[in-house]
Symmetry: C2
Subunit: 206 residues, 2 copies
Amino acid sequence: MTGTRGRPRSEDARRAILRTALELCERDGYQDLTIKAIADGAGVGRQTVYRWWPDKASILIEALIGLGDEHAELRVPDETADVLGALERLLTATFELARKVTGQALVGLMADAQRDSNLSDRLQEAVIGPRRAALRALLQRGVDAGTLTEAVPLDLVVDFAFGAMWYRLLGHHAPVNAALAKNVTTGIATMLAPNTPGRARREIQI
Amino acid sequence: MTGTRGRPRSEDARRAILRTALELCERDGYQDLTIKAIADGAGVGRQTVYRWWPDKASILIEALIGLGDEHAELRVPDETADVLGALERLLTATFELARKVTGQALVGLMADAQRDSNLSDRLQEAVIGPRRAALRALLQRGVDAGTLTEAVPLDLVVDFAFGAMWYRLLGHHAPVNAALAKNVTTGIATMLAPNTPGRARREIQI
């Protein structure tokens, strides 16, 4: 306010806490993550952490929300020319983040949410719901442009894409990575391809 | 051994414990399920329960395995004539059981498995793996018979079907029921439909 530039010191501390929480969670797992370790890693006191957040779940949820702002590829692009390309980029970015940055936070929060309905609601409202809405909006754009058809409800297509991710994150039976994003995109493209019998009729008329 | 008929008494007790554990878990939730409540509900002493199982997770896993034997519709049928019909019946039975009988046990075990790698391995080996294998075998039968094509890897199709179920069970954003089974079947049928461009070419040749 008196000519100083840059972010205020408390904003730096907040960002350091959020970044550190995700890093330590990914390295050590959700169960072993403590407020003390987050504070130490971020170079602040525990009271500084508790001034802003009541528990680690709240820190991680805010960190996950923040990633959506930091990573442009998690947002639905404005252009509609290449919906399937945009879909693969969105899923690739989401799955690669889950593999390297957010995976332990996601499964830890989801596990705790099973015995904490308040946390379940917050996770749904802040993380799961917005990601679902973004993917659905992208698919709807393809339907509106005529490059996709709604052969099955779009909400179910969203369940296929993110369900496969969650199922693998929780069950550990197969990796969540760029190859999954590519295959999920192929599956959705095949499922929602404009009606081929219709194309056949047009070809016959020609 | 001396002319008595029927199951031995201990087998009755085992079955009562398994059935009671699933019922109480579904009614009260996994977290609140206790060995004492299971023993009381099954009409046995706690020591009888502990003689066979070390903890509630082990009881529930055995109960889930048992359901696969009790419910014929969870098994892959021998006939290959109507693979998509068999798929919808398999998914309908699985999802209806998850909605009414097994849902709380599944999410509770999955949540605990996130901080217990031994439980995670047992859940994968005893419950998730066999269900995946059954669904994959059914899809493979359709591919072998030529009524389905492998447009995307069958393992991913399994992830779509069961992933949608787990995602909804854990996230609570939409129900797991017969309507989901119907829509998942439609989605898979569309995704794995024999190549329509090929059909179009044949039509044009006619």
